[in-house]
């Protein structure tokens, strides 16, 4: 028993969705239904994928725009986050395309921050170097162990030396 009116309504809906398909897939019911079912599944999946694809594109565009100014995308984004700039990748990519001066401002902000960081790193490195050279000098001066793997506590050594000097003075006195 065939309920023709209800079935044609249902089939017409699916036929309409099969427009533009290749060959018999647009005309023939059995192929139409296959194609349309798959198409709807893809549509469901790709509504979620679309968000990812856009973000990918913005990142690629941003990476290109930022590389022109000599910074990498990763550094740019991390410093921007530290500077509490809340612009999202979509807007940043848009700025890179249409507002080169504003984008350049952001790049320079990041560059300033990178320079500050480098200064702090250098200061730390200098401090460490200073301490190491001080330890080396002390080793040479006091003819300490040749075993360089032993860590030397300068303050403890100084205290020991002071104690020795005091004891000698007490004994002498």
């Amino acid at each position: 028993f065939r309920n023709a009116p209800a079935m044609t309504v249902r089939k017409d809906k699916i036929r309409a969705l099969a427009k533009g398909f290749y060959g018999r897939r647009k005309n023939v019911w059995t192929l139409q239904i296959n194609g349309v079912e798959k198409a709807l599944q893809y549509a469901y999946r790709d509504r979620r994928r679309k968000k990812r694809e856009w973000r990918k594109q913005w990142i690629q565009q941003l990476g290109a725009g930022v590389l022109e100014h000599g910074i990498s995308y990763s550094r740019f984004i991390s410093h921007l986050a530290n500077l509490k700039v809340l612009l999202n990748r979509k807007m940043l990519a848009e700025l890179a395309q249409t507002e080169p001066s504003s984008f350049r401002c952001l790049v320079e902000m990041v560059r300033d921050r990178m320079a500050e960081q480098r200064k702090v790193q250098l200061q730390g490195a200098i401090e460490r170097l200073r301490q190491e050279t001080a330890v080396e000098d002390l080793r040479r001066e006091w003819n300490l162990d040749k075993d360089r793997r032993k860590k030397i506590d300068i303050e403890a050594l100084l205290l020991e030396r002071e104690r020795e000097i005091i004891q000698k003075a007490q004994k002498g006195g």
């Binding site: 594109q57 941003l62 022109e68 509490k84 700039v85 249409t98 401002c105 320079e108």
Partner: protein, 285 residues
């Protein structure tokens, strides 16, 4: 505050629509110009806990901020954008604006044109490159001297330029790349023992048994352009667009090329790309 801005804008557009048609275009231009100018300032406002807008450093205002020209379609985009204003922004003088609105002559019309919300958000769409942006007159020409450049490292950069990956306007489905001329192709180098060990295979008749194999130096002696071409072709996308991009690569043996009329820009492998130009130290040169 967002609603305040929106309502102001709606009021402004309502005023514009209501006044005489002759005045409409000029006022619209002025309003959009003001908004476009304000957009740059509003970017500064967006930045929280940072230096105030007056401390934005001086940006060099040369004509060409970047080498890459702006897309044609972009200059015609309407600059209708709205941004959220943070709470510590200077207050809007609503009284003065209300006064001006009251003074304006409002003719009663039968129908009020409603502002289509899509117009307000048109500026939020990411730009899609138009056909005009893919035309040859928009493309730059680059010339690369392949003397003592490492084959693969040079080829990746060529592929990037051909594809347009170095442009903020990049789109994977559109041809937004540039032309590349490679000359002195016979002087390209490879590291290690590749010169005598890298094989190039081809099937001449399509039947089994008719495979021809050549080493790198044999092919370089015979058809040196093919080495660079094959290297770049392998790095481009495979498909109609990839084939089209490959046609934008022009490889020549020797220092001469017939594209002087295109004023090619000499592309140097410096800075981050300096590795491509490093001399080969290992292996038989």
């Amino acid at each position: 505050i967002f609603f305040r801005v929106c309502s102001l804008f709606v009021m402004a557009t309502a005023l514009l629509h209501v006044e005489a048609p002759a005045k409409r275009m000029s006022l619209a231009c002025v309003a959009s110009g003001v908004l476009a100018g304000a957009a740059v300032v509003m970017v500064g406002l967006f930045i929280k806990d940072a230096a105030p807008a007056t401390q934005l450093f001086a940006v060099p205002t040369t004509a060409a901020m970047t080498r890459i020209p702006m897309a044609t379609g972009m200059q015609q985009r309407p600059s209708v954008v709205t941004y959220a204003i943070p709470d510590d922004a200077p207050p809007v003088d609503e009284a003065a604006i209300a006064e001006e609105a009251a003074e304006a002559v409002i003719e009663e019309e039968e129908e009020e044109e409603r502002v289509n919300p899509k117009d307000l958000f048109d500026g939020q769409k990411t730009y899609y490159p138009k056909l005009a942006d893919t035309q040859a007159d928009k493309k730059l020409w680059y010339a690369i001297d392949a003397t003592d450049l490492r084959l693969g490292r040079m080829a990746t950069e060529i592929a990037r330029i051909l594809r347009g990956s170095n442009k903020p306007m990049y789109h994977p489905a559109m041809d937004v790349g540039d032309y590349v001329i490679v000359y002195n192709a016979e002087k390209v180098t490879v590291s290690g023992n590749k010169r005598t060990q890298k094989l190039y295979r081809r099937h001449t008749t399509g039947r089994p048994g008719s495979m021809k194999v050549e080493t790198f130096d044999q092919l370089q002696a015979r058809v040196p352009e093919r080495i660079v071409e094959q290297a770049v072709k392998g790095m481009l996308p495979k498909g109609i667009l990839g084939r089209q991009l490959f046609r934008h690569l022009k490889v020549y043996k020797g220092p001469e090329h017939p594209h002087a009329a295109q004023n090619p820009i000499e592309f140097k492998f410096e800075g981050k790309l300096a590795k491509a130009a490093e001399p080969v130290t290992r292996g038989r040169p």
